[in-house]
């Protein structure tokens, strides 16, 4: 656990520095808000509508593909470490796994899941 204590020290240093910088800039910087200044930037035009709102579903599909593939990749990590002992059995096992993954991949490709227009 000591190693993670050191890592948390990095985070602590980062938080301290970030906090100090933010505090300093709050103290040192001027503060002259005006209604115009507080508007979101839209190329000099006063925006009429919120930016938040509906957004095309394809961003959600990318996220889904990512989760699918990333979970597969996570399975591969312990396999890669242990391949030295698993030998041919591990290889065949993973070949089957990747082929199944490949079928899903080809299916997604075929259904147009990887198109962005």
């Amino acid at each position: 656990m000591t190693e993670y204590f050191y890592i948390s020290l990095f985070a602590v240093v980062a938080i301290v520095v970030v906090g100090a910088l933010l505090a300093l800039s709050t103290v040192l910087g001027p503060r002259n808000p005006s209604p115009q200044k507080m508007l979101p930037y839209e190329c000099g035009i006063i925006p009429t509508e919120e930016a938040k709102g509906r957004y095309p579903v394809r961003f959600a599909t990318i996220a889904m593909f990512f989760i699918i593939f990333d979970v597969e990749v996570v399975f591969m990590y312990p396999w890669a470490v242990a391949l030295g002992e698993l030998k041919l059995f591990g290889l065949v096992e993973m070949a089957i796994f990747i082929i199944i993954l490949g079928i899903a991949y080809v299916y997604i490709w075929g259904r147009g899941g990887l198109e962005w227009d």
Binding site: Y6, F10, V13, S25, L28, P40, L88
Partner: protein, 350 residues
């Protein structure tokens, strides 16, 4: 007065005892703080390097007025940014707006914690290890923490309530998750070769030759994905200033704006260090009479220059092409490389 002296004595003895008992802990903590501060002070130097180098690439001088060779320029810029008004536009989500740059910087620094940059050495009977922390799954840790950095950019984009920022934030999330796959899969072939997730073991496995010689394709894939992960040109789509003005940090001013840059540059160093550790043999000098740390630093410096060189050479790739490239070209190549590597390993080098 005696009792005060007594208390002080007891306290002092306790501290000395504690320190004597826990010298490694103290040394480790001091080292961690030093490395964390050092990596943050690398940022101004890197900003200077980038601006000078870009200047040379682009037939101009770059900053040369503040201090010798313009070395004071990043400091002057930092001070300027400190004195800038911090504008938070009224429809933004205040908490997330502040959180976003902090997340970017903190994750960037924390990811650097597990990067080793030399063999341990002995000083005053103490073994000083040349890394902030040696976790046995170093590479996974880097991926996990740098993956969290995406949150910073997405939150910045969403909390700004600005259309350009929103698009930048969405772009960055889609881009980074797509290229994280490539990053992870191309690193897998190195794990296959070493049989360990520890970055130190990976460097030790490269004592005779660097892995770039046996895994050139994985190196290329990893480096491309690394550029995309750090949002550097030609993959700087989330902040494409010509299209999205500044993307996810359009609304940020002053120090908060600078913090995104800080995060980006630290990520650049981390990524260069990672490429060095995985493919270029880390601190191994292959017979050259240099200190390991110098060998490591030179390789990282070279990669950083490549990052800057790419930025000044290439136009920006388009968003849909970026996604297509990641999913349709890099991903199959990664899987192929993985299959070939594992087959060769099992059949020819059991």
């Amino acid at each position: 007065m005696d009792w005060i002296t007594e208390i002080l004595n007891v306290t002092w003895n306790f501290i000395v005892l504690f320190l004597n008992e826990n010298i490694p802990l103290v040394v480790g903590s001091v080292k961690a703080v030093i490395i964390a501060v050092a990596i943050m002070s690398v940022v101004p130097a890197l900003v200077w390097l980038e601006r000078r180098l870009m200047g040379r690439f682009q037939v101009r001088l770059g900053p040369n007025r503040v201090g010798p060779f313009g070395l004071g320029q990043p400091m002057a810029d930092t001070v300027k940014l400190l004195f800038k008004e911090s504008i938070i536009q009224s429809s933004a989500d205040k908490f997330l707006f502040h959180l976003a740059p902090a997340v970017v910087v903190i994750t960037a620094i924390a990811a650097f914690a597990v990067i080793p940059f030399g063999e341990p050495f002995e000083v005053f009977g103490q073994t000083i290890e040349m890394w902030g922390a040696n976790v046995n799954s170093g590479i996974l840790f880097v991926f996990a923490i740098s993956g969290m950095g995406i949150y910073g950019m997405v939150l910045a984009g969403l909390s700004s309530n600005n259309k350009y920022s929103l698009m930048g934030g969405l772009r960055s999330s889609a881009q980074m998750i797509s290229y994280e796959l490539t990053l992870g899969l191309s690193a897998l072939s190195i794990i296959l070769l070493t049989g360990s997730l520890s970055l130190v073991d990976m460097v030790r496995a490269q004592e005779t030759y660097p892995f770039i010689l046996v895994q050139p394709l994985a190196f290329l894939l990893f480096f491309i994905a690394g550029i995309a992960e750090t949002n550097r040109a030609p993959f700087d789509l989330p902040e494409a200033e010509q299209e999205l003005v500044a993307g996810f940090h359009t609304e940020y001013t002053g120090m908060k704006f600078a913090m995104f840059f800080m995060g980006e540059y630290i990520n650049m160093v981390t990524m260069s260090a990672l490429v060095t550790l995985l493919f270029l043999g880390g601190w191994n000098a292959y017979g050259l009479p240099v200190w390991p740390i110098v060998s490591f630093a030179v390789k990282v410096f070279f990669l950083l220059c490549v990052f800057i060189w790419l930025r000044s050479t290439f136009p920006r790739i388009r968003y849909d092409r970026l996604m297509t490239f990641g999913w349709k070209i890099l991903l199959p190549l990664c899987l192929l490389n993985l299959m070939v590597t594992s087959t060769v390993k099992v059949i020819w080098f059991p």
